[in-house]
């Protein structure tokens, strides 16, 4: 599934890399991104793709980041993702 996320971050050291690192680590590929730095905040828009992970869980994980002021998913809600087929070692 492809999604577009729009986020507003505090402009502090590490905020952007922390956000992008989280997105990739949680199983999403960034296919396009745009960042605009204001005086105190950074507006970030990313297009992301994942084969099976839930974008709703991702947005909640992003929301938890201390430097994130807001996050919005600009694509429609999806059915709950099923991780049932995957197993850890």
């Amino acid at each position: 599934m492809n999604h577009t996320l729009q986020m507003n971050l505090h402009q502090v050291e590490g905020a952007l890399i922390r956000l992008l690192g989280l997105i990739e680590r949680r199983g999403f590929a960034v296919t396009s991104m745009n960042a605009y730095t204001g005086e105190q905040h950074v507006e970030v828009t990313v297009d992301i793709h994942s084969a099976g992970r839930s974008v709703e869980t991702l947005t909640r994980q992003i929301q938890k980041l201390y430097d994130v002021r807001s996050v919005a998913c600009l694509t429609a809600a999806e059915a709950p993702a099923a991780l049932g087929g995957s197993v850890a070692c």
Binding site: G14, T57, Q61, G84
Partner: protein, 551 residues
Amino acid sequence: MSSKGAELVVRALEQQGVEIIFGYPGGAIMPVYDALLNSSVKHILARHEQGAALAADAYARVTGRPGVCMATSGPGATNLVTGIANAFMDSVPLVVITGQVPTTVMGTDAFQEVDVFGITMPIVKHSFIVRRAEDIPKTIALAFQIAAEGRPGPVLVDLPKDIANAVPAHAPIYETRRPKRVVPDAAQVQAARELILGAQRPVLYGGGGIPIAGAVDAFRAYARASGIPVVTTLKGLGSVSTRDENFLGMLGMHGNRAANRAIQESDLLICVGARFDDRATGKLDGFAPKASVIHMDADPSEIGKLRFADAGLLGDLVESLAAMPTGLDIAPWQQWCAARKVEHAWRYDAPGDDIYVPHMLRRLTEEAPDVTIACDVGQHQMWVAQHCHFDRPEQHLTSAGLGTMGYGIPAGIGACLARPGARVVTVSGDGSIMMNIQELQTIKRYGLDLKILLVDNSSLGMVRQWQQLFHGERYSEVDLSDNPDFVEVARSFGIPAFRITRRDEVEGAIRRLLDTEGPLLAHVCIDPKSNVWPLVPPGQSNDVMMEELSA
């Protein structure tokens, strides 16, 4: 008089009520160590930074307050990484202070420079690089607040040496705000109530979030009032007493068969502060296949992450539990669970003269119900979880999420310092103990009353067991029969030690451990072929529990 940045760090720690920190000095952190000399904060010198971080982790688990550890830049900082990851995976509040090279040379590959801020980004709840000395009070205060509130975790503060040496023009006192109390959504509470009232076969699935949220009493009260059978995760052990009649055992890969069968049969899973970890669920789509799910958690991103929640109760577990209905009509289900508990009760009548570790561990907690057990990682860890009794979760210190071999001795040290006078036993294995053996010197240095029960099967037992079962008995790098003489090792650190090899020596060894003052190591030699049973093979559902292979 103005203070240097390093003095502001120490003052901020004092303001947080910090009594003990764990660490190891070095070049870039020297200003803070200098400031510590004038402070009431006691510093515990570990012999490796990993030992410091893991001891601080256990200190936090026992006290419920953030643990603090400190190291220098470069290798000091990288040695902390495993401890930080351990705290992250088990949601332990930890404040980690690292020295850094001066800001003027950061990014130039200076001596002992490493980007610990970048390295640790995936394993911290949050992190800071302090760029101005006047920001120190605020940064330290925020670090403590972030580490402790909501779902706890480690927070890193990277402190460049020039900032630690700088004298700011002004250094405002910073007070943190009170943590927000998140109340579960009323509609979700109502949905959960209806699910419980309509359930015929409900199970309470309790995790490590219960003690973290201070909800142990509330969880017990609800379990007792509702009569709903209880299973717990590894970290949830002790949330109800393991002696409680409603407690079926730990679920999961090495769980009790009664606990796993109850879960698989249930029509409603009430998940309280747990996260559907793969070691608990086995194959996810085969986990509790007939059950609806109520998920109570402080972390919004856990609800629905791995298993759809029919009702998600975000926020304070105490409030969520208090709102759940009692007076349920589930007697047939309670009877079925009680019968499974009897049917699958642990047996201790193993044949032979070899020491049977499950029985030894059960006897230890029968003789000393107040004991805190700091566990290492491997077969002995699972035996502790299966067979020891715990009245409170703080009595069981275990590296659950990360599975950090080497946790046991530092954790025992942290527990001894967190509760002076408490009875603490580290249960370790011959593989695990070697990962932080240097911390024996920390026990000696501070005269800690830590007992060590070292279970030695001359191999990496859990890996060997998997190679036996799942790799066609192709044993690869698991033979540790060239271990050192652990009794002599302990004695060389100034710690008394003795060895047992036969079953008839076990009772005497337990008495000796419990009756001796000061540190003592018992070296327990067992059959190298001992395995942990039952076992859900990796990738299988919890219906598939392997039992002991016939010899």
